[in-house]
């Protein structure tokens, strides 16, 4: 059926009204369509670049951020030591236990090996004729061979360091000499034995043997088991060194010369 002119007129009005009412929405729809299209196009162009950058970042992450992260972790650990200790304690406990077991196994092996070697008929006969060391000394010295770790030649009154030898890196030797002298004086004074000298200090695996002379004293830190032979030999060497120093006092004012003397008479002879 054909529309009447009135109906057509109504339709036009309705269309006009619809246009008027939906104009804003249509514009927004168009704009959104454009945005989506632009975004898609932009994504297509940018995505490979972003992927490339991410790949580079992944590869070079430690280089770019390693220091910063390490520093942050350090600060975190420092600021929350209790928590760290609490977290690590069980793990460390297991590790320590494992380490001790492994060390005991090594020690057992070492003792067994030494006993086998030193108690062979040949060795027993050899020792029978030499008759110097007892059996326990022989085994202990083989297993825990004594090592000279540090030597200090120190002026007795002032505590100033005249020369030294050090196997490892210890704290400031000048201050160690001063503090050692102070501790020595303190101990001698505390027990009111001014005419007597402190001769030995033991700490953990170290033993500090002190030999006193009139104007100097020589402190030798050793690790391992010190048997009577080693002690006596060391003492003789120290007396020899002291004799050289006290005969030629220029050693006291020449640290490199003194250090060379210690190396020659105590350490090189020891390793021969």
């Amino acid at each position: 059926m054909k529309k009447s002119p009135e109906d057509t007129q109504k339709d036009k009005r309705f269309e006009l009204l619809r246009e008027l009412l939906l104009e804003e929405d249509r514009k927004e729809l168009e704009s959104l369509k454009e945005e989506v299209l632009v975004h898609e196009k932009f994504s297509e162009r940018v995505a490979p670049l972003v992927d490339e950058k991410i790949e580079i970042l992944r590869e070079k992450f430690p280089e770019y951020f390693g220091d910063t992260i390490t520093e942050t972790i350090k600060i975190q650990i420092r600021d929350s030591q209790d928590e760290v200790i609490e977290a690590l304690y069980p793990i460390l406990g297991k590790l320590v236990k494992k380490f001790i077991i492994s060390e005991i196994e090594k020690l057992t092996e070492s003792i067994n090996k030494t006993i086998k070697e030193k108690f062979s008929v040949k060795e027993i006969i050899k020792r029978f004729f030499k008759n110097k060391k007892n059996n326990a000394d022989v085994v202990l010295q083989e297993v825990f061979h004594p090592i000279i770790e540090e030597v200090f030649v120190i002026e007795r009154d002032s505590g100033l360091l005249a020369g030294s030898y050090s196997k490892g890196n210890i704290a400031d030797k000048d201050m160690v000499s001063g503090m050692l002298t102070a501790i020595k004086s303190f101990a001698e004074d505390a027990f009111s034995k001014e005419a007597q000298d402190l001769e030995d200090i033991r700490f953990e695996t170290f033993q500090l043997s002190i030999q006193n002379f009139k104007t100097i004293y020589i402190a030798v830190a050793t690790s391992g088991v010190l048997n009577m032979d080693f002690k006596s030999e060391l003492s003789d060497k120290i007396i020899d060194i002291a004799e050289i120093i006290l005969k030629d006092r220029s050693y006291l004012n020449d640290e490199p010369k003194m250090n060379a003397l210690l190396l020659k008479h105590l350490i090189e002879k020891e390793s021969e």
Binding site: D157, S158, M175, M179, F186, A190
Partner: protein
């Protein structure tokens, strides 16, 4: 380089440790001094084209009343007696302290330093110095880093005399 043992002595709380802290970074832990009554620090001092390695013995107490081993004073090349300009009890017996230090260390001279000058006005400081019957060599402030370096250079010079 020549090494010299120098003493830093003075009553408790006069600021000896603060002076050392200001001057020296390299030092032993605080625990030692309360245990054995001395702390050893080291500092290389440069003056007039020479270098002196100062081994500084910071001795707790000076008066001879404290039980400090006499051996701490032996072998020293110079000594600095420190007092607190704001506390009369620390400079009341300076003359006696100087005498004790000289006897124990066999030194002929002792450098006398008044610390904590930042706590007094210039007028108050002058009055304090006037009251003291021994010559005060220098007044310092460890807090404000005033004259600290000078005091130790003075000590170093005295040690090589």
């Amino acid at each position: 380089m020549v090494s010299k043992k120098v003493l830093l002595v003075g009553n408790f709380g006069v600021g000896k440790t603060s002076l050392i802290r200001r001057f020296v970074l390299n030092e032993f832990s605080e625990d030692y001094i309360s245990t054995i009554g001395v702390r050893v620090s080291k500092k290389i001092v440069e003056f007039e084209n020479q270098q002196v390695k100062l081994i500084i013995w910071d001795v707790a107490g000076t008066t001879g009343n404290e039980k400090v081993p006499k051996a701490y004073f032996l072998g020293a090349s110079s000594a600095m007696l420190v007092f607190d300009v704001s506390r009369v009890e620390t400079y009341l017996h300076l003359e006696d302290y100087v005498q004790t230090i000289k006897e124990l260390s066999k030194l002929k001279e002792v450098t006398i330093v008044g610390n904590k000058k930042d706590l007094l006005t210039t007028d108050e400081l002058e009055k304090v110095i006037d009251k003291i019957n021994v010559k005060v060599d220098l007044v310092t402030s460890a807090k404000e880093d005033d004259n600290v370096e000078e005091a130790f250079v003075m000590l170093a010079k005295e040690s090589i005399k």
